[in-house]
Symmetry: C2
Subunit: 132 residues, 2 copies
C-alpha cells in the first residue's frame, strides 16, 4: 500500500469513474487502473464493482475509503506541521557590514528577515575593528 495508490483510490471513489479520476490525479488512465488493481491484490479483495455505466465501491471499498481519507489527511497534516517549524529560527544574529553600504541595503533586508524569523535578535556591527 502506497500513498499515491490511496490518492488514486479516493479519486476513483469520488468520481465513480476511472477516466475522470485519472485526469483529476494527472496520470494516464491505464496507469491508474494498474495501481488500483495492485492495491486490490495487496488487500486481497476488490474495492470496486466495475459496472457498465459507473464504478461503485464494494463493502470493503466503502470501509477502506474512510481509512484512506484519514491517512491522506494525516499526510497533509504532517506536511503542514513541519512547514510551521520551517522559519522558526531562534537565537541571535550578529552581522558585520561595510559602513558606507549598510544603511542603504540592510534596513529592508533586516525587516524581511525579522518578519520571517521573529525570534532571532539581530545586532549589526558596522565598524568591525571595534570588536578586535
Amino acid at each position: 500500500m502506497e500513498i499515491h495508490q490511496l490518492r488514486y483510490f479516493v479519486a476513483v471513489a469520488e468520481e465513480g469513474n476511472f477516466s475522470r479520476a485519472a485526469e483529476k490525479v494527472r496520470v494516464a488512465q491505464p496507469s491508474l487502473s494498474q495501481q488500483i488493481q495492485k492495491l486490490e491484490a495487496e488487500l486481497g479483495q476488490p474495492l470496486f464493482d466495475r459496472l457498465p455505466r459507473t464504478v461503485l465501491l464494494t463493502d470493503a471499498g466503502k470501509r477502506f475509503q474512510e481509512f484512506a481519507q484519514r491517512i491522506l489527511a494525516g499526510v497533509a497534516d504532517a506536511q503542514r506541521c513541519v512547514d510551521e517549524c520551517k522559519g522558526e529560527a531562534v537565537g541571535r544574529l550578529v552581522l558585520g557590514a561595510i559602513p558606507t553600504i549598510a544603511p542603504y541595503l540592510l534596513p529592508r533586508l533586516l525587516q524581511q528577515f525579522q518578519h520571517k524569523h521573529p525570534k532571532v535578535s539581530i545586532e549589526v556591527i558596522e565598524d568591525v575593528t571595534e570588536n578586535l
Copy 2:
C-alpha cells in the same frame, strides 16, 4: 512522502541509530539513509541531528514523529479493516458430491467452511440425477 519512508523514519527515531534501524526494517543501511534524506528534502528541513554518538530528532522531527506514527497506525487499521470483510461471504452454496465419498470427506470440510463463512447456507446433493 511514501509509507516506507515513514516506516524508516520511525525506526530511526526509535532506535536513535541508522544501523540498528536498518536491521529492524530489513534494508541496507545506506538505502535507509537515502530514503531519510529524500524525506527530509521533501519536507524542506532535517528531521534528525546527526550527532557523533547518536541520532536525535530535531524539533520538526519530534513533531513529525507523532504524525508518522498516526499515519502508520492508520495504514495498519485499514489493512485490518478490509481483512475483516474478507471471509464475509453470504448467500447459499449448493454442493454436488459422489455419494460414496461424501460422508467421509465433507463433514470436516463443511464444518471449517461454516466457521469461516457463517452467513452462507449450505445444501449437499449426493444424487445429482434427482435434480435433472
